[in-house]
Symmetry: C2
Subunit: 367 residues, 2 copies
């Protein structure tokens, strides 16, 4: 008996009159073949994956198991349609927290049609893809038995700003996940989910090493699915943190070149996850730009710099901003100002961050 999957966070959803994936009770996931070249391309990719031993075993595990294609009754009632038969990644998970992260600052191949390129480019520019090298395509975060899941709409997820994405990556492994984005995530499960020898970071690093070398495939618009079970973590058990690569409708041959687009985005995600592990308490730091600015006019090298830069009101601003804070109150560069071990920051001494709530209450004169 096929049914609509319970834990889908991105992609087309099945429903009345809607074509979407289905699952059965034996752990198989049925993804309807997209009618155009995308369907054929994804079949080709999975076929190649299962017959082509070019991918080492420790990397194969990051791909869903493929069971061929099968004609099944489509979810939209349109009759028998060919489906990809894949491993159901949510199988056996009761209340999984899931993020679908589309990797790459560019979701289109140079070989794609002009129309498709323009469509993707627009989306990449409107989402965080261009700036971060990835975007969150969908997510659900399990909160508690009482509160259930926090599952923002797909469109909302994709429109997350760079700072919101950083916050979501923290909320994902926090115990205090409320409904809004204003809460300060405690990152209580960061070390058990992201950290450790079998955690998410470790898996991402394995994938990275492969992408630095592999020139077989270029994966456009492909996602990394991140899954774990908070309830297990709460019980002190292994939360089953796992990454899987999904969505291969836009795979192209590598032709001797690494997938630098995927790799760049992956490294960006890795950096964010690493930072959470290094400084789990530095979430959503709020600093008054004005106060910060004042501190920077103290007697250190950065100031001289700042002075020089105010001579111009154009390109210089980029640099200048680097030294102060961003306009939305969440301080992107705070990281640089506080945890950098490379000496940017004489300024550090001027800043006091209260670790428990991550808010800099008052910067003026605090030493």
């Amino acid at each position: 008996m096929l049914k609509v999957p319970q834990h889908q966070v991105a992609g087309h959803e099945a429903g009345i009159g809607k074509l979407g994936p289905l699952v059965d009770e034996s752990g198989r996931f049925y993804k309807p073949l997209q009618g155009d070249e995308r369907g054929a391309s994804e079949v080709a990719f999975y076929t190649s994956l299962s017959t082509n031993s070019g991918i080492p075993e420790h990397i194969q595990r990051f791909f869903p198991t493929f069971y061929g294609t099968q004609l099944v009754e489509a979810s939209d009632g349109s009759g028998l349609l060919p489906h990809l038969v894949l491993e159901d990644l949510a199988l056996g998970r009761v209340n999984p927290s899931i993020m679908d992260i589309k990797i790459g600052s560019r979701t289109w191949a140079p070989e794609a049609s002009e129309k498709y390129i323009q469509k993707c480019l627009k989306k990449d520019r409107e989402s965080s893809s261009l700036s971060l090298g990835f975007r969150i395509s969908g997510l659900q975060i399990y909160r508690s038995k009482e509160l259930g899941l926090w599952k923002p709409g797909k469109k909302a997820a994709q429109k997350l700003s760079r700072e919101e994405v950083k916050l979501v990556l923290r909320r994902f492994v926090s115990s205090n996940t409320l409904n809004d984005l204003d809460s300060r995530p405690d990152c209580a499960f960061a070390s058990t989910v992201y950290g450790g020898s079998t955690g998410i970071l470790s898996q991402l690093l394995e994938l990275k090493a492969w992408f630095e070398d592999q020139t077989i495939f270029h994966l456009y618009s492909c996602s990394i699915l991140v899954i774990f079970e908070k309830e297990l973590a709460l019980k002190g058990k292994n939360p089953g943190a796992q990454i899987k690569l999904i969505d291969f409708a836009h795979v192209y041959e590598g032709r001797g070149v690494i997938d630098h687009n995927f790799l760049g985005g992956l490294c960006s995600l890795i950096k964010f996850i690493s930072e959470i592990l290094t400084a789990p308490n530095e979430c959503g730091i709020e600093v008054s730009a004005k106060a910060d600015h004042k501190n920077l006019t103290a007697d250190n090298g950065v100031v001289a710099d700042h002075k020089n830069l105010t001579d111009s009101d154009n390109g210089v601003v980029a640099i200048q901003k680097n030294l102060t804070t961003s306009d939305n109150g969440v301080v992107a560069d705070q990281k640089n100002l506080t945890v950098s071990d490379n000496g940017v920051l004489a300024d550090q001494k001027n800043l006091t961050v209260s670790d428990d709530n991550c808010v800099v209450a008052d910067q003026n004169g605090v030493s």
Copy 2:
């Protein structure tokens, strides 16, 4: 006494009525400030670089020394103009071989103007930037006292295809560099220039490690200059292989995000250089696509794959091509077919490559 630099390979060149950089005899390089925000932005970057200790010392060495700005008589005779005063990177070098490699599949920042973005996007798509993650902006290769330099026009350099770029990276460290691109480079100096603990690869890897971590700057349209002296290599001396980062007119603040665009392109370049060191004899291999195809229909896993893939004539082709050869006779995926250690290639046994001239004379039936 200021004069036109002898070894400029990219950028605006000074000349009668032309504004370009100048050098003096003390080893300083004078780069005219671009009138618009680019000039201000580059001054801001260099100023920040020299006063901001955020960049570790072992990375500082990859940037040209900055001596401030100075009004000097412009090369186009237009009178006194402000110039950036930088270290002359060619100082003390007699016949340097130089490549200017513009890093990043994207040369524009998300924050740039729409007009500028469209201009850059077009160039990125027409050059190898999009596919390789970098493009060669200019180069000169020293051949011999008699033949002097091989210095293709800047436009020609920027239009190099992916295969030609690979070839140029080999020619750059070869002793048999003729005027055309058909020659088979011997990569005689690969190990002394690209290899070794102080060679180009080692320097690129240091830079990579920094880019995996630094979130201070995003460098768009920035180049890595690769320099060495073949005459020294010929004499068995240290050829002074060195990389330098140049061109910072499009630097933006990192705002807590790594420069995934630069990093991706850098990793792609690193992969190419690594391959040359691993297999210096595999230059410009030519294989008949037909013969190759025949070999692939032998009894191995790849074949089954190939058969499956011919069911469709669209997206599947990408995968299919991966298994055969590209249309231009230079085999992009040959690499995968011959040196891959991950088992793609049962097929390897079907291929015979004559190492001395890198041509597969006849593949049919050769074992």
